[in-house]
């Protein structure tokens, strides 16, 4: 928990250093050169050009007006119990905690442990490249045998003579399961993924009919080593950490308060 206090403290210290309104007496409104630069920068991010002198003067006047009303409103206690103000302040607290997690660096071995525990999220699917001859919806068994023998013996010189004309691609480059099944129908990848590469095998049935298939290349499923994808893993680790940090930080702060909830009496409900 120590580092939360440190981070939180660090931010409040920074905030105090940058916030120059605290240094002035209550009845002085001081517009610093830095503040004017800020106003000009805000203007040019919207209008894509620097403001003219008139426009700067207007911006400064508006800023002063806002400061005057802000102080008067504070004096009247208008910031108390305002939903919008409350929400905004909560947002700022959460933002502080959120930002601080971007500075977090994993301890030695921490990222490796995280990666090991979440390996399945980083795995690459296996891929298959194949070529196939389509023999039609219901070819005679002798036809299938003949074609298989011709292919296996390597004697058929022109593969494009064998098989039926079809839009089904004669060859598929390295493709994942969903791509192979997308072309030939569900289950075709499973039927072909264990075939010995380089050998013609058949009959293999797809959603369209009978094929003789030769696997050309295979890429096994692979989880890249941490070093290849360190950036992505680090980012995910930070996201996860930010969540945990947020919860722990809140839990810690909550213990500072005694909480009392008083509910109205309601009829005993037949609620599930």
């Amino acid at each position: 928990m120590l580092h939360f206090a440190v981070i939180g403290g660090l931010f409040f210290a920074l905030f105090a250093a940058v916030d120059d309104s605290r240094e002035q007496p209550a009845d002085v409104i001081y517009i610093s050169p830095e503040r004017i630069d800020q106003l000009a920068a805000g203007f040019s991010s919207v209008w894509k050009r620097m403001p003219t002198q008139d426009e700067i003067n207007h911006l400064i006047e508006e800023d002063i007006r806002e400061e005057v009303y802000y102080r008067e409103a504070q004096a009247l206690g208008l910031d108390q119990n305002d939903t919008i103000v409350r929400r905004r302040m909560r947002q700022k607290m959460e933002f502080l905690i959120d930002t601080s997690t971007n500075l977090l660096v994993p301890a030695a071995g921490e990222l490796e442990t995280y990666f090991d525990e979440n390996k399945q999220a980083y795995g690459r699917q296996p891929r298959l490249a194949l070529e196939q001859i389509f023999l039609g919806a219901a070819p005679k068994p002798q036809m299938v045998d003949r074609a298989l023998k011709a292919l296996q013996s390597g004697s058929s010189a022109d593969l494009s003579e064998l098989g039926e004309t079809s839009l089904l691609p004669a060859q598929l480059g390295l493709s994942v399961e969903s791509a192979v099944d997308g072309v030939f129908g569900k289950g075709f990848f499973d039927l072909t993924t264990d075939l010995v590469p380089g050998e013609w095998t058949g009959p293999i049935t797809s959603a369209y009919g009978v094929h003789i298939v030769r696997v050309l290349d295979k890429l096994p499923p692979r989880t890249p080593p941490l070093i290849e994808i360190r950036d992505i893993v680090l980012r995910n680790w930070r996201e996860r950490k930010a969540q945990k940090v947020g919860e722990l930080d809140y839990a810690g702060r909550r213990t500072n308060y005694t909480i009392e909830i008083q509910r109205r009496e309601t009829e005993a409900a037949d609620k599930p």
Partner: protein, 644 residues
């Protein structure tokens, strides 16, 4: 290509006149022989044409779109990508779903006007709560139930009546930092899911032009990645930053290309809800007559049209094509987009794709360029973040129409001018792209050259080639595409110059059924041409069909039959064919007349999504709802231009 000249002659020709122009000396034939090895022996090597169609949706909305968010969509772009990629997600109404198969690509095209506004109001973002309108709506939405509905309706009315707080709305318009940040997030989400070779996430948006309730929408697609896309923000239709005039959209697009060096295109849709102004013949929507600039720009920036989607099929209409028994498919012809003005028959000619293709020929002969020389894709335009176009897995147009027992009978739109009932939503469509690889660049380029087709949801493979010397022999090749590309042009192109002695063009067309879908009924080729008297004609030819049906006296092939078991929402593939193919020659060709040809592939009847709903919820079908549907694919056309 075969080399017809002997190598020595080539060497001689190449170097006689330009001997002074090179500094490599004069090569000898044997040196050159190594450089030109001819076509590869293996038919698979060195091929650079597309091998399989890539399936995607070019038009999907997420919670970032104002209207989607209003109707309760709480799913951001990440969820849309996850579903498209093949994962299971939970819809905004809490129902789990998954696509039957992943898509290969997706473009999320949220409305550029007010992008992100509704979601931020619902979330109570601090910068908005200072505005009375937003705080009030947020209160209603947080309460939910009746109060939530009231808030949503009030928001819509306030927007339609132009009573949105201008300062508040300006934050969600081009020029504002918040708008730029939202666009950055859109780009970041696309980057996170873009996986070249596996799944492509295209960057784009929808420009929502509405002219007095008449639809003129386009989705805008960028070829590029974040470096170029983030140099601009989307173009809206609201002044002063935006405009509802397509010419201003094209200016924006030209500026994008010039400023970033990237490429961009636009895809119009729902001509059927434009009350005739989508494809005019004489003048633009505002009465300005066509000029050469208009037609050239339109042809340049809008290479394809979204021909079918949830809000109606846009290929043909029975009034325009009385001889086409398949033209009455899922027509939405009650009125315009908000049904503020009813439809009249005179409007129809400016609304449907086939008629537009014909009109394009007329305009071309008048002004020299065909502004309606478009290819076609299908898309959903779903506002649920869920790209569902399958009859048995349809999640509706927006969150209010996700599956439930009343969605079919609930009115979708209802005004004095007319009404559209829930069952009329169409579970359509998808775009198939013959791209050389699954990357942004290859998919964009394929759309640009129109080598694409659209379907009403199923994934049938369709190839169309046009040329002058295809033969039946060519179909015997096991890899027909090789010959297709060699001897002619694929879908989306122009026929090569008519050779000496040729009598008529011929077309090689193949269709393979969806691997998990229904058999095919028939392939048709639809021809449109420009007659000498300046009028256009059309004809639908049945060119290949299943079984041994014979054309009747009028040349029409009888219906294929129907195996749909309505009470059980089922069908069998005992009729139709898994694959159809043919080489067809135009029997009525006149070389003097401009023409186009496209293929339409029709499946056997299958249960319509309404039939699935009736079965699953145990309810009656509403009156008028068809029990079955014959899904179809429409290819991009091939054009014939007479030699001048």
């Amino acid at each position: 290509m075969k080399m017809f000249l002997p190598l020595t002659t080539i060497v001689a020709l190449a170097f006689t006149s330009s001997a002074t122009a090179n500094d490599t000396g004069t090569p000898s034939p044997d040196l050159l022989a190594k450089a030109y090895t001819g076509k590869s022996y293996s038919p698979y090597a060195k091929r650079n044409f597309p091998e399989r169609p890539l399936w995607g949706d070019s038009h999907l909305h997420t919670s970032l779109s104002m209207d989607a968010g209003l109707f309760g969509n709480r799913l951001p772009p990440e969820e849309a990508y996850r579903l498209a990629r093949g994962e299971e997600v939970v819809s905004s109404t809490g129902q789990a779903l998954r696509l039957s198969r992943p898509l290969d690509w997706l473009m999320i095209a949220d409305h550029s006007d007010g992008m992100g506004l509704v979601g931020d109001i619902a979330a109570g973002k601090a910068q908005l709560m200072a505005y009375e309108q937003a705080a009030r709506w947020n209160k209603g939405m947080t309460e939910g139930g009746e109060a939530g509905v009231k808030a949503a309706i009030d928001l819509i009315q306030t927007f339609s009546n132009d009573k949105m707080d201008p300062e508040m709305f300006a934050m969600y318009s081009p020029g504002a930092k918040i708008y730029k940040n939202l666009w950055e997030e859109v780009i970041a989400d696309a980057e996170a899911f873009n996986d070249p070779g596996h799944f492509t996430a295209l960057i784009g948006f929808e420009w929502t032009s509405l002219i007095e309730g008449n639809n003129m929408h386009r989705v805008v697609m960028m070829r590029d990645g974040p470096v170029r896309a983030r140099q601009v923000v989307p173009f809206t239709m609201t002044a002063p930053q935006g405009s509802p005039d397509p010419r201003d959209l094209w200016k924006y697009m030209a500026n994008y290309e010039e400023k970033t060096g990237g490429e961009i295109l636009a895809i119009a849709h729902n001509g059927n809800l434009s009350n005739g102004i989508m494809f005019p013949l004489e003048a633009q929507w505002n009465g300005t007559e066509f000029d050469e600039t208009y037609v050239t720009e339109r042809a340049k920036w809008e290479p394809v049209y979204e021909i079918t989607q949830i809000k109606g099929d846009g290929e043909a209409h029975p009034f325009l094509s009385p001889d086409d028994e398949f033209a009455d498919y899922e027509n939405w012809d009650i009125g315009n987009l908000d049904v503020s003005v009813a439809k009249t028959n005179e409007m129809l000619a400016g609304e449907y794709a086939r008629e537009a293709l014909k009109r394009g020929l007329v305009i071309e002969s008048r002004l020299g360029t065909n502004p309606y020389k478009f290819g076609v894709v299908g898309a959903t335009d779903s506002h649920t973040s869920l790209a569902t176009a399958e009859e048995d897995n349809f999640f509706g147009k927006h969150t209010g129409y996700e599956p439930n027992a009343t969605r079919m009978s609930h009115p979708f739109m209802e005004t004095d001018a007319g009404s559209i009932i829930g069952w009329q939503m169409v579970a359509s469509g998808l775009g198939a792209v013959w791209a050389t690889e699954n990357t942004r660049e290859a998919i964009f380029d394929a759309i640009q050259r129109k080598e694409v087709y659209g379907t009403t949801g199923p994934r049938m493979s369709v190839r169309l080639f046009g040329g002058w010397d295809y033969t039946q022999q060519d179909m015997n090749s096991r890899i027909p595409a090789v010959i297709g590309y060699e001897k002619g042009t694929p879908m989306g192109g122009d026929l090569r110059v008519m050779p000496e002695g040729a009598k008529a063009p011929n077309f090689m067309v193949f269709a393979l059924r969806d691997p998990i879908g229904a058999n095919l009924d028939r392939i048709q080729i639809i021809k449109g041409w420009l007659d000498a008297d300046g009028t256009t004609k059309e004809k639908v030819y049945d060119v290949s069909w299943s079984g041994d049906r014979k054309p009747d006296a009028n040349g029409k092939v009888p219906a294929v039959g129907n195996t749909v078991d309505v009470p059980n929402a089922n069908w069998t593939n005992t009729i139709g064919a898994a694959e159809l193919m043919t080489v067809w020659t135009d029997p009525d060709f006149d070389p003097a007349k401009k023409a186009f040809y496209y293929a339409r592939v029709i499946e056997i009847p299958t249960p319509r999504w309404s039939t699935y709903d009736a079965f699953r919820y145990g309810i009656e079908l509403p009156e008028g709802a068809p029990t079955s549907t014959q899904e179809r694919a429409y290819t991009s056309p091939i054009w014939y231009n007479p030699a001048s």
